[in-house]
Point group: D2
Chain length 339, copies 4
Amino acid sequence: MQLGMIGLGRMGANMVRRLLKGGHECVVFDMSPKAVAELVTEKAVGAGSLAEFTKALSKPRAVWLMVPAGVVDKTIADLLPHLEAGDILIDGGNSYYVDDIRRATELKPKSIHYVDVGTSGGVWGLERGYCMMVGGEPDTVKRLEPIFATLAPGLGDIARTPGREKLGGTAEQGWLHCGPNGAGHFVKMVHNGIEYGVMAAYAEGMAVLKAANIGKKGHTVDAETTPLRDPEHYQYDLNLPDIAELWRRGSVIASWLLDLQASALIKDPDLSKFGGRVSDSGEGRWTIKAAIDEGVPAHVLSSALYERFSSRGEADFADKLLSAMRYEFGGHIEKKAGS
Amino acid sequence: MQLGMIGLGRMGANMVRRLLKGGHECVVFDMSPKAVAELVTEKAVGAGSLAEFTKALSKPRAVWLMVPAGVVDKTIADLLPHLEAGDILIDGGNSYYVDDIRRATELKPKSIHYVDVGTSGGVWGLERGYCMMVGGEPDTVKRLEPIFATLAPGLGDIARTPGREKLGGTAEQGWLHCGPNGAGHFVKMVHNGIEYGVMAAYAEGMAVLKAANIGKKGHTVDAETTPLRDPEHYQYDLNLPDIAELWRRGSVIASWLLDLQASALIKDPDLSKFGGRVSDSGEGRWTIKAAIDEGVPAHVLSSALYERFSSRGEADFADKLLSAMRYEFGGHIEKKAGS
Amino acid sequence: MQLGMIGLGRMGANMVRRLLKGGHECVVFDMSPKAVAELVTEKAVGAGSLAEFTKALSKPRAVWLMVPAGVVDKTIADLLPHLEAGDILIDGGNSYYVDDIRRATELKPKSIHYVDVGTSGGVWGLERGYCMMVGGEPDTVKRLEPIFATLAPGLGDIARTPGREKLGGTAEQGWLHCGPNGAGHFVKMVHNGIEYGVMAAYAEGMAVLKAANIGKKGHTVDAETTPLRDPEHYQYDLNLPDIAELWRRGSVIASWLLDLQASALIKDPDLSKFGGRVSDSGEGRWTIKAAIDEGVPAHVLSSALYERFSSRGEADFADKLLSAMRYEFGGHIEKKAGS
Amino acid sequence: MQLGMIGLGRMGANMVRRLLKGGHECVVFDMSPKAVAELVTEKAVGAGSLAEFTKALSKPRAVWLMVPAGVVDKTIADLLPHLEAGDILIDGGNSYYVDDIRRATELKPKSIHYVDVGTSGGVWGLERGYCMMVGGEPDTVKRLEPIFATLAPGLGDIARTPGREKLGGTAEQGWLHCGPNGAGHFVKMVHNGIEYGVMAAYAEGMAVLKAANIGKKGHTVDAETTPLRDPEHYQYDLNLPDIAELWRRGSVIASWLLDLQASALIKDPDLSKFGGRVSDSGEGRWTIKAAIDEGVPAHVLSSALYERFSSRGEADFADKLLSAMRYEFGGHIEKKAGS
């Protein structure tokens, strides 16, 4: 079928490529004419403006937005005058699901159908396919099924879950209509929340392995440093690239994130090109807010988020206050780094 | 080569089966004659006593213990009179690595070589192969290489990590000599620590999905209950079996543990046959102790462990004390369950 | 000065009493005529309706609302027709500060001055005085100073902070103009967030003391139970009421919350009359949301909140999923309570 | 009575002073003759060697060690030849209670009585008195009662816990015989574990207050930075010294640690002289180990400990691994500090 794509960054451009390869027709627009031109060479229909873009699409239109969460509302506002009743507007970016609920409500009186799609797969999606979590009205989602089917990974060579053959559904194709508006981004939000937690679990464990030779290092003996009681228990120089590789093979914690670690560690076992300032991009935060609203304990997901905050120095004032209290009650002078 | 196996539970018996299938000769012993008899029908050499067992093995012997961590020391004590200089003793169970260090030191004067093997793979190992983390002297581990090669999963159809072809080594076969005595169980310990963390990340996230319809439920309005500000944001009845399946397909959090969730949820979407009392078996605890000795922050791994404690009611006294304090300062009467 | 009080529950009634005792004039209203009548016997001016209430107040009026957070907006709506430009409306309950910002904005066009007051002190306030955190315009807050001065504890016999004599201000009287609208409830919100964390720290520590005799108890020996390696290290039957009392005397962790624990434990050392279902009342949740918006790590405050969720069984589904995964990968059958 | 004190650092010297003031006789020894000389001018009996020290004490001797935990065993070894059956050896430092159990067992055959005393009060003890947690045999502890009674704060002007008058005991004097050997340091260990948790709760909350003006700051708009949805909710420049002072007055979280914060913040509201590298001195770590052995959840106490680790850069490798994973799956380039 035909799809219009607005936003030709890494994700949007590759989605267009996957759709073209799957036999779909794509009309594309981006603020950067160069991005448009590049996809035109790959058989997409290019547009120089939103007006041109919408004109090139047959009605009812299906328009997919793949732009940063921060500019979705503006893009919709710019696009709206060019849309008509019956058109479908898809937000495939990382919007907060609460915004989806609002947008769907705002667009409803105009009979424009809003669909939210949470997309996982990152830079690997072109090759592996995109895992898509979809929210919207059943009929609208149904109309887009050919698009989702092409973008999704499909069954591939991943083993079938026993019992799934009786259930059917699209989940094992790699896309799912999760529920009404916002449900797609809600599920994607929690997906990312889990992702933070899983990543942190590996990172902490790997750090424990990395420090397994701490018994070989001399320790300062003073009242401010806890001595290691059994240095003979920490004499291991472990090979992290090999261990990550090992665990990919038959262990309980084999995963795609572990594959990535094996790949990163083989290139640079000390990860010396990274400074350790870890960004977080919204979904992790929103997951915690949802957990709190729901009254669901989320120790692990929260800790994973806070570790990212701390990695960027955001714990500094709290830490200073701890040192200040210690100074007040015990006269403890703070130890300097490296001392 | 020839291997003696003591302990024919689920793990030990299946390891023998995999070795026999791989062309090795296995002498087997278990406290239960029935377990021995069963493997004899599958071509293992059975032994009725430790004396018979050691006699059936050619020297220098290689003896693999696959018994509960709590009886390893006793088994070694019973076995020791029958062993000779040059024999190899392998502990393939879930021992604390600190015990490995001690045992290796105790056996050294007798020239008995101790090897510790952490094994992941559970009930799936027979089919998938066992992921093995090995600690011991290089020469001893080398002698056992044929055994490890057969038990391990091998390359299989798991994609090769880019760059691994230049590195070689056994890690991508699914077994690794991690370092001196204790290193195998140390790495396995951290593996399980990570496992707890990863499992908890999924569990918390799934619980957030499960409760996404909380806005549909009426809330008690009283001073003891926090009202939900935006019930319209929590109106989703999400299909967890489908979502677990979906994420297996191209998402960032695809993993073997997710495969297992998809499988569990398809059988019983509400998991109603589980009460939610989660055991922990030592490695998670020891990982935290190591993290603390090393001074490595382990928020996520600790939280995952404590959630298991809480699931078994271990937080009860602390919770009562919280209620008691609330009663003292605010006259808050505790709310009853279901009220 | 004169103050009108709406809401004569535990808090509101006692505040009126403290104001009357301090020589102020109070006009009072409550949905329950009985509550009004009771205070009339103590020299308050009672009102049978909001109209009567506002009529009894001299202009510009000062009206203090001490009603549950959930009915503040409704109460304001009912009251508004009876108010005039220049009147002051004070919300002394546990409102979310975001609502304060909204309300102040809504009331501004009517020239009604909104003041938010976070109040700590609970049932002890009548005697000890109320610690008040105030948000609003400087002039408005200034007009209310006599009220705050009476309600607050004052210097009392609490030692003066060195250096405070040069700074002046009202903080050491026990009330503070924290900033513009919402600032009072924001500071109170974080106060309660801290309160949860401090309470949890004591509760966890006390639970560790309580279980210090665990080495005396027999342990099940099975693969699902981690054996205690050193039972001889856990042979202490500690006297918790005495320890709480002890720490009140010269220890670093002396505090009012510890006083309350000492009091609760002396009455009932096993706290057997509490079931351990701990409520949370909003501020702890909002504190975490603020921390997340600000990017400030809040491991402790979050954990304290989640422990309360868990105490009410809210972790159940996550725990079941953990058991389900364990069953899938290891065939682990869940242990029953008490087994 | 007479007491010998070994170790005249901040703590030991002040304890001697308090004992002398209380009418006791003190024989003192320290590696530094200057420290001895100083106390001699204050009426202590000085000793130039351990031989001289023990000779100066009447039998059976009572010797108090106030030396760093790391040198207690060495000091005991040096002292032992000079001691006799019936003498009492007191360790008043920060020993691990497990060492107390071992030492008591080792000294028993020599009929030397070991007593462990956990002491809280820090530099304030001389003036406020020392809160002491004592472990040892009942008879031995009884003999030392006059010493404990003088060192302890006594009733002072701290309000009596209702019901305490019927119970009696020494707890409200500020010292307590907690149980057999190790019990004193066990209780002190948990005391410090709680202390870490309480401190962290305040520190996190204060950091949330400090960042309450984050809405005034411009935010980078890019895919690596989560935008603040409601900057208008974070416009507060809060006065932390005033707020700490305020909470001392009638709030639920009034405490001695809060007094210290008020004091620290009044001197330096930005705490700019602290770098935020927070030491931990053993007890916090041991508390977690005990919690884990006991199976008691300790989310808050663990988090507080880990925040200290993180403050010293100990999370670095884990953070780098997170960045490395993000780079692998999403091509995310790490943001630099300040960008």
